[in-house]
């Protein structure tokens, strides 16, 4: 009996000791949370972003860390399970005490963690193109808003290719729904008739595209130049493009411009039948700049595979991470409130050879590039906005949000200020 008690005491002392040791260690490093799914349906896209973050943190540490401390990555797996995202976010912030979190891919995962970040006042850098209609004090949107992707893309098709008839095809969730609403309003404002717009939604992971592609083909045979604007998500793209190729729809008959198909998605497709189809992003791996070449080199070295591609969300993390680093250096602390203040206006190089700045609405400025798919799975840039486009949190083409603006600088400090009523709704 006595022996057992001694063991117990020893165990308690050891546990306490390890706890304090843990604290001492935590004091020496700055922890950075990485919240990307490593299993489940989203692992296909998000695993790469986890690796990107590990590389960026590793490089920063080689440069001497941040504020004289080393950075330490805390990786968790929310397993493509949306409530688990919220749970893991809370764990990262309260248990691991991370200074900032880089993560999420789908809108629903962002929506799930949003209340957690607001309650605990921490920082989330969200690297994926999304539907807009959101601006949180605690989230920095480094991916494209609809005006940084969809509208320039449609402009390109209309002006450069003379497209007169439009198919808006998307997966049935909030990003395509919103983007297509915005685009339909935009096209109508440009004088496109209702009968020249066809809108089609399909479920996630839709794999049988025969009838829809046949319908598109029929729609496109009416004698006017037709294009497909695709907001089809992830896994559904491969069977979609395969069906396009097999039914003989090529880029010069009916071009398809996609907003969710990047280099990584193409690496799972045989692209020879797809040459000439388009995508709109803010970055392509083929972009010709010194900084991009360096980035690709270090990525290949880090991942130990020189066949791996880079893509737009990776660039978004690159920009977001460097912005955070710069803001922390500027503020002299990792305290979220101070970083929030310091980061607005921070400008860092992007990978396409220019600079991106954090706007007061927590979105960033980016160039918009249109690329055509090549037979090697890469894109060639065929058009580019002359300058940078600032991300617009609230679309001007949606009736509910055209009066809203976002500005997180001190006098206003509101993510959804209604200029008509002069009120900031939802503010406590």
């Amino acid at each position: 009996m006595r022996g057992k008690f001694t063991y117990l005491v020893l165990a308690v002392i050891m546990a306490a000791g390890s706890l304090t040791a843990g604290h001492a260690l935590a004091g020496e490093t700055i922890k950075v949370g990485i919240l990307h799914s490593l299993s489940g349906t989203m692992a296909i896209s998000e695993t790469t972003l986890k690796d990107t973050m590990l590389m960026l943190i590793d490089e920063q540490n080689k440069k001497g860390g941040l504020l004289g401390k080393k950075l330490e990555a805390v990786v968790v797996d929310p397993a493509s399970d949306w409530p688990l995202f919220a749970e893991k976010a809370r764990e990262l912030i309260t248990k691991d005490k991370v200074a900032a979190v880089f993560g999420c891919w789908t809108s629903v995962s962002r929506k799930s963690v949003l209340p957690v970040f607001e309650e605990l006042n921490s920082l989330l850098f969200y690297p994926v193109q999304y539907e807009g209609e959101e601006s949180s004090r605690n989230v920095f949107y480094t991916g494209a808003a609809p005006n940084q992707q969809a509208i320039p893309a449609v402009d390109y098709l209309m002006n450069e290719l003379g497209v007169k008839r439009w198919v808006l095809a998307g997966t049935d969730y909030v990003y395509p729904r919103t983007t297509n609403k915005i685009l339909a309003a935009y096209l109508k404002a440009k004088g496109v008739a209702d009968k020249d717009i066809m809108i089609n939604y399909t479920p996630f992971g839709h794999s049988d595209w025969q009838s829809i592609v046949a319908k598109i083909k029929k729609f496109g045979s009416a004698g006017k130049k037709t294009a497909v604007v695709s907001t089809i998500n992830g896994d559904a793209n491969v069977p979609f493009y395969k069906e396009l190729g097999n039914q003989g729809i090529t880029a010069d008959t009916i071009p398809v411009i996609a907003f969710s198909v990047g280099e990584e998605e193409l690496s799972g497709i045989d692209t020879k039948p797809l040459v000439g189809h388009l995508a709109a992003w803010n970055y392509f791996m083929s972009v010709d700049s010194e900084v991009n070449e360096a980035f690709i080199d270090s990525w290949h070295k880090f991942i130990k595979n020189d066949k791996r591609v880079t893509n737009d969300p990776m660039e978004a993390h690159y920009i977001g991470f460097n912005m955070w680093v710069k803001a922390v250096e500027k503020a002299g602390t990792t305290d979220p409130a101070a970083v929030q203040k310091a980061i607005i206006g921070v400008t860092v190089p992007n990978l396409s050879g220019g600079y991106s700045a954090m706007m007061p609405n927590h979105h960033i400025t980016k160039p918009v590039l249109i690329g055509e798919i090549q037979d090697d799975g890469q894109f060639e840039v065929v058009w580019q906005t002359p300058g940078l486009v600032a991300g617009d949190a609230w679309s001007d083409y949606l009736p509910g949000s055209k009066d809203l603006i976002s500005d997180w600088r001190t006098p206003l400090a509101c993510g959804n200020f209604n200029v008509k009523t002069g009120k900031c709704s939802g503010k406590k």
Partner: protein
């Protein structure tokens, strides 16, 4: 009183309920009253996590009631759980009122976003808590009753029934993914502000929800215990083991099945309703067939046909999931998968079966 008598014979249940009572008291106190610096402090994170596990525990009891005691392997209990969750979520959405980002007093944000002008008819009434609670019970209950009425009357049994329940939840999954349904599509319902006037962001409300989950689990446990030990329960076991004989003796098997199945669905609905305010989101993923299979696995791991085993299984598997997704993010599926295989192979009566065996040999 009869319950106490039943409980005396259920050692595992006694232990489970005592532990439950203990944490119901201690966890909120340690969270709210013990200062954060103290070693005894229970963080809000741990408390909500425990609250979530308790909801899963209740859900596991519901699954065990139909599987362990009635022999119906339901692969669609996630549907009842999610429907209860959605009913609660709709109440919470209506509570946001004009505090949404668009400031619309009537329509939830996602409807404004999709340019909807009117509140769909099925959203009316959810501004009242009592109505929402009624729906938490009615919607899963009715669905189970209708489904069961069809299925049990035409004597669909065994694997067929399992696959049909799976089809049910799969159809609901696809339906709720549709934005036109008016339940927020893939994003589901989020960004809740308060419940019954209490802010969901405060620790006191969380403690309240935690206590409510614990009480619901306790109540669910006792009511299932009552059912399984009563005459009805004996009949259930008889149906599980020899359905035809029970029918030949003259019992209306389909009625018994229908009642138990519906009750189980209601329990699952209540679990869902308590789950949603604690995790802060409800979305169609809860309907996914895989989620429902996972629920069955909890029961199998814990020990089928023992109520405390179901609770233990739910807690254990979910704790393992929470722990492994951090400790070995790349490989946790290996661990989870092996756990399922090993338990079904080596411990057909679950982990609690192992304990019982020891007890018996002693």
């Amino acid at each position: 009183m009869i319950i106490l008598r039943y409980l005396k014979k259920d050692t595992g249940g006694m232990i489970t309920l005592s532990l439950l009572a203990l944490i119901t008291v201690i966890v909120p106190i340690c969270n709210l009253l013990v200062p954060e610096t103290s070693g005894l402090h229970v963080s809000t994170f741990t408390m909500t996590l425990l609250g979530k596990y308790l909801c899963y525990g209740l859900l596991a009891i519901a699954v065990d009631l139909v599987w362990g005691y009635l022999g119906i392997l339901s692969l669609g209990h996630g549907a009842f759980f999610a429907l209860g969750g959605y009913a609660m979520g709709m109440y919470l959405m209506r509570q946001i009122g004009s505090r949404g980002v668009y400031g619309n007093p009537l329509l939830p944000d996602f409807m404004v976003f999709l340019n909807w002008q009117h509140l769909p008819w099925f959203w009316h009434g959810f501004q009242w808590f009592w109505f929402a609670m009624l729906m938490v019970i009615l919607v899963p209950g009715l669905l189970a009753a209708i489904f069961g009425w069809f299925a049990f009357r035409s004597r669909v049994t065994g694997v067929y029934l399992s696959i049909m329940t799976q089809a049910l939840t799969y159809a609901l999954l696809l339906a709720f993914y549709r934005n036109e349904m008016g339940f927020g599509g893939n994003n589901g319902l989020t960004d809740f502000k308060d419940i019954l006037g209490f802010s969901l962001q405060t620790d006191a409300t969380r403690a309240g929800l935690f206590i409510a989950s614990a009480l619901a689990l306790g109540f669910g446990y006792l009511s299932c215990l009552y059912i399984t030990r009563s005459r009805l329960g004996k009949l259930c076991t008889a149906i599980r083991d020899q359905e035809d004989r029970v029918r030949f003796i003259g019992y209306r098997v389909e009625n018994i099945k229908l009642w138990i199945f519906t009750f189980s669905a209601i329990l699952a609905g209540i679990a869902g309703a308590l789950y949603v305010p604690q995790v802060g989101i409800i979305n169609p993923n809860e309907f996914s067939p895989l989620a429902s299979i996972e629920m069955v696995v909890w029961v199998a791991v814990g020990g089928r046909a023992t109520l405390y085993g179901a609770v233990a299984g739910a807690l254990l598997v979910n704790y393992a999931k929470s722990y492994l997704t951090v400790a070995m993010p790349d490989a946790w599926l290996f661990a989870l998968g092996s756990l399922f295989v090993l338990v079904t192979l080596l411990l057909p009566r679950g982990i609690t079966g192992l304990l019982r065996k020891k007890e018996a040999s002693r």
